[in-house]
C-alpha cells in the first residue's frame, strides 16, 4: 500500500477537456490495492474514458459490492457520487438508484466473486431488466480480497498459486449477459487500454444495459504459471475481434480505412462506434452468432475480446415501465402523494 499522496503537479502540457478539467481532475486518492493489480489499470481506463467524454463528475454515480474490485470506485472519479454496497448487491442498489433518478450515469463496478458467486442472481436480473448502466466486472478468477480462493469464473483445470486444481465448470458472464438480453456486451483486458478505453466510452453512451467483462490479473494470487487469468496467459490467448473508436456526435471522422474493414455503428444519440474489424466475418449485431462464436473460440482456448454485441436501438427499464420523462426523485411530495381522492379513484378502478 502506498501511503504517499499522488503529487498535485501534473504535466505542464496536460490537456483540458471541454469542461476545463484535466484527466487528473477525475482521479481519486492513491489506490490501496496491491501494486500492479489489474483493477488499478481499469480505474485508469475509466478515468480516461470519462475525461475524454467531457462528462461532469457530479452526473456520475459509481456503485459497487465487496472485493478488491469493488473497492476501486474510491480510487477514481473522486468528485462523483458513490455507493459501496454489500457483497453481490450492487445491481439492486444500482437499479433502485436508477429508478429514482434516471438522469445520472450509472457505473456498476463488481468482481467475479461479487457477480458470479454471491451476486449471480442480482447480476442476471439487472441485465434482463435492461437497467441503463455500465456494468464492469473486473475478472481475476479469484476472490482477491479474501486471499485468492477460486471464484466461479475460474477455468476448469486452472491451478491455484498453491497448486490446487479447479474442478468446477466456469461461469461465462459474457455468455450469460448475451442470453439475458444485454444490449451492449464487450470483453477486454486491463492490460490493453487502447481497446478498453473506447469500449468504456461506447458503453457510457449506450442507453441500456451495457456489460463489460474485463480480465484483470490478480498479481498477488493469480498471476502464476497454471493460471488462466495471468498477464502472460491472457496475452498469449487474447483474440481481438475488432478495435473500436468511439466518436461523439459532434466529432468528425477524419481517418479513412479501406471499405469492408471498417463498420460504423450509429447510436441513437448520434454518436458513432467505428469498428476496425480483425475477424472479417464477425457480425456485432447477431446475438446468437456471437454466442456460438464465443463458445467455439473458447473451445480452442482463445479468449475473444473486443465489442462482441451491440444493439444500436436499445430500450431500457424506464422505457419498459413507461415512466415519465422527469426523474422520479425530482417530483414533489404533491405529485408523489396525490392524496385520498386520487387513491379512491385508483381503488374504484379495481372494483
Amino acid at each position: 500500500m502506498t501511503f504517499m499522496a499522488k503529487p498535485k503537479f501534473h504535466h505542464p502540457q496536460l490537456q483540458k477537456n471541454a469542461l476545463g478539467y484535466t484527466r487528473r481532475d477525475y482521479e481519486g486518492p492513491v489506490s490501496t490495492l496491491c501494486a500492479g493489480c489489474g483493477h488499478d489499470s481499469i480505474s485508469a481506463a475509466i478515468i480516461r474514458a470519462v475525461y475524454e467524454l467531457d462528462l461532469p463528475p457530479h452526473r456520475i454515480a459509481k456503485l459497487s459490492g465487496i472485493g478488491c474490485s469493488s473497492k476501486t470506485p474510491t480510487y477514481f472519479l473522486g468528485a462523483s457520487h458513490g455507493f459501496n454496497s454489500v457483497h453481490g448487491r450492487m445491481p439492486s442498489v444500482l437499479t433502485g438508484a436508477n429508478l429514482a433518478n434516471k438522469d445520472l450515469i450509472y457505473l456498476g463496478i463488481s468482481g467475479d466473486g461479487d457477480s458470479a458467486s454471491i451476486g449471480l442472481g442480482q447480476f442476471a436480473h439487472s441485465v434482463r431488466r435492461g437497467v441503463n448502466m455500465v456494468y464492469i466486472v473486473a475478472n481475476n478468477g479469484v476472490y482477491g480480497l479474501t486471499k485468492g480462493q477460486f471464484s466461479a469464473t475460474s477455468d476448469k483445470g486452472a491451478k491455484s498459486k498453491r497448486g490446487a486444481l479447479n474442478k468446477d465448470e466456469a461461469i461465462d458472464l459474457v455468455g450469460m449477459a448475451l442470453q439475458l438480453g444485454a444490449t451492449f456486451v464487450g470483453r477486454s483486458f486491463s492490460g490493453d487500454k487502447d481497446q478498453l478505453v473506447p469500449l468504456i466510452k461506447a458503453a457510457l453512451n449506450h442507453k441500456g444495459a451495457a456489460f463489460i467483462d474485463c480480465l484483470s490479473p490478480c498479481v498477488a494470487f493469480n498471476n502464476h504459471d497454471g493460471s488462466t487469468k495471468s498477464f502472460d496467459y491472457i496475452r498469449e490467448h487474447n483474440e481481438a475481434l475488432n478495435s473500436l473508436d468511439f466518436i461523439t456526435g459532434r466529432q468528425e471522422i477524419t481517418v479513412e480505412y479501406k471499405p469492408g474493414t471498417v463498420e460504423t455503428v450509429t447510436q441513437h444519440d448520434g454518436s458513432r462506434l467505428r469498428l476496425r474489424k480483425i475477424a472479417d466475418d464477425y457480425d456485432v449485431h447477431d446475438r446468437i452468432a456471437a454466442l456460438s462464436y464465443m463458445q467455439q473460440r473458447a473451445a480452442h482456448g482463445e479468449i475473444v475480446t473486443g465489442l462482441l454485441y451491440v444493439d444500436p436501438e436499445p430500450q431500457d427499464l424506464h422505457a419498459h415501465l413507461n415512466t415519465i420523462e422527469q426523474p422520479l426523485n425530482s417530483l414533489g411530495t404533491h405529485a408523489l402523494v396525490p392524496g385520498q381522492t386520487a387513491l379512491d379513484k385508483i381503488n374504484a378502478a379495481f372494483r
Binding site: 500500500m1 502506498t2 501511503f3 504517499m4 499522496a5 499522488k6 503529487p7 498535485k8 503537479f9 501534473h10 504535466h11 505542464p12 502540457q13 496536460l14 487528473r24 492513491v30 496491491c34 501494486a35 500492479g36 493489480c37 489489474g38 488499478d40 489499470s41 480505474s43 485508469a44 486491463s190 492490460g191 487500454k193 490479473p217 498479481v219 498471476n223 498477464f231 502472460d232 496475452r235
Partner: protein, 596 residues
Amino acid sequence: MQPTDIKNPEYFHKVVDCQWACPAHTPVPEYIRLIAEGRYADAFMINWKSNVFPGILGRTCDRPCEPACRRGRIEEEPVAICRLKRVAADYKGDISARMPPKPQQKNGKRIALIGAGPSSMTVARDLAPLGYDLVIYDGEKKTGGMIRTQIPKFRLPEEVLDEEMGYITAMGPEMRLGQRIDSLKELLNESYDAIFVGTGAPKGRDLFIPGRQEASAHIHIGINWLANVSFEHVTKIGKRVIVLGGGNTAMDCCRTSRRLGGEDVKVIVRSGFDEMKASPWEKDDAIREDIPILNYLVPKEFKHKDGKLIGMTFEKVKAEYDAKGRRNLVPAGEPDQYFECDDVIIAVGQENAFPWIERDIGLAFDDRWNMPVVDETTFQSTLDKVFFGGDAAFGPKNIIWAVAHGHQAAISIHKFCQGEDVKDRPPTHMNITSQKMGIHEWSYDNAISVNVRTAVPHQDTHIALKNLRAEVELGFDDRLALREAQRCLNCDVQTVFNNTLCIECDACVDICPVDCITFTEDGEEQDLRTRLNAPSLNLDQSLYIANGLKTGNILVKDEDVCLHCGLCAERCPTGAWDMERTLIDVAQAGSACCTK
C-alpha cells in the same frame, strides 16, 4: 532506438539539470538534502569542493543552475538554489579542521599565478594539496580580484570574502600581493614550470560622444569608480546621477550611488527592459531602491556649462525585427530627451587588456579580438607552459565560470608538470546507490512539497541606504531554509529500470503524476516522441529507452518533467523500477580535495 546506456555518467548527469548547468557541476540536490537535515557543514564541504567559494557564490552567483532547475518546468519558479548555498555557509560553524592538510612533501614544481581573483585562487586550491610550490602575484594589496574591487559590500560582506580566500592562502601559496607583472617575458625567465594567467578583464569601455572631454570631471567609468569606492578613494557623489548601461555593473553603480548621496538616481539603457543584460533579481533590487530604469534611449551628448556637466541628451529609439528575427534599434522619430544631472557613470561593458604580454614570445594572439589563443578544453595557450582562465581567457563572464576554468586549468597544469598529455581529460565518476529501505520506505524524502519559492528577507531599505556596508539580503533562517530545501525534487535520485523484472502491468504508467512512462512499439526517436503518453517537447532531455520486454514493446521514459517522487517504484509489483541516488563527481586535478 538504442537502449540507453545508464552506466555512462553523462546520461544521469543530464537529468540533474542544475548540476549539469553549473559550470563547476556542484552536486546541488545532494547539498540541499544535507541542508534539510541541518547538516550545514557537510553541505558546505560539498559546495567547497566543487565551487570553492560557497559563501561568496551563495550571495553573488549568476546562478545558471536556477533557470535549468526542473522545478521551473512544473511550476512558476525554480528552487532558490543559490540562496540555499548561502545557508550552508552561514550556519556551517568552524570547518577549518576539514580543510585538506598541507602536503607532507613538495613535488618540486613551481607555478606562478598572475592575479588573485577567483580563477587563480581556484587553481591554487586544487594544486596546493598536490605539493606544488605556488607563487601568486596581484597588483592589488588584497586577494579576491574583482570580487573585492567591484562587488559592493552591501551585496557581499568583506568578512565572507576574507574567510573564503583565507582557506586558500592558509594552504601555503606564496602571496606576492601588490606586485604587478609588467612583462610576461621576464616572468618566463624565472624558471617556473608553468604559469597561470588569471588577470581578468580590467578595462571599462568608454563612450565617445560630444561633451565627453569637456565634462570629464563628472563622468566616471563604472568599474574604475566602483574600485575607487571599494578602496574608499571615492566617498560621495552628486545628488542627481545618471548611470548608462543595462548590465549588472550598472546595477551596482546605481545602487552604490544611492548610498553615497545620490537622491535622484536613474539608469538609462539603449535596449528594452527585458533585453537588459542584468539579472532579473538585480533589476528588482535596483527598482526597490527607488531607481527608475528608462529604456530605448541612446546617449547623444553630454551637456556642460562652464566646464561642468549639467545634463545629457538621448535619442528615443524603438525595436524593429528583420525577417530573420534580429532586433534593430531604429529612431522612434520622437524629440530628443534631456535629463539634468550632476554625475554620469558609464557602465557599458568591459574589455580585456594585455599590454604586459609581449607579442614576440610565441604566445599567439587572435588578430581580430586581440585576445590570446586559448584552447577551450585545456586552457593552454600556444606557449605550452602558459595557461589562461577566468575573464582573461575568453572575455568577461562571472565568478562561477572563473572557478570552472580554474579547475580545468589546474588539471592541465598538473598533467603538464607530470609529463602527461593535457588533452587526455580525466573521466567523470558516478556513484549510484539504491534508496530502497523497505517496501514503501525510501532513504530520501520523496513527498513533493507544493510550496512556492521562498523569498529571501531583505534589510529595511531606509536602513540599507544609509550604510554602504549594510548587507541588503539577510539570508534564510533555518526554518525558511528547510521550507525551501523541501521544494527540491531530488533529481539525482534516478528512476532505474530493470527489463528482466517488468511484467508490463502498467501500474507505473497509471500512477505517474506527470505521465513520464510509456510502453510502446519501438521506433525512431522523432516518431517515438509523438507517441508518448504526454507531449515530449523538450528535445534537450533524453528519452530513457529499455527493450527486452516480453511483449516486444519498449519502455520509454521521458525524463523531462519527472518529479523523482518514486511512485513508479512504489507501485511496481516486481521491483522493476528502483530509485537510485547518483553522485556525480566531475574530476579535479589529482582529486586531492575530495572531502566527503
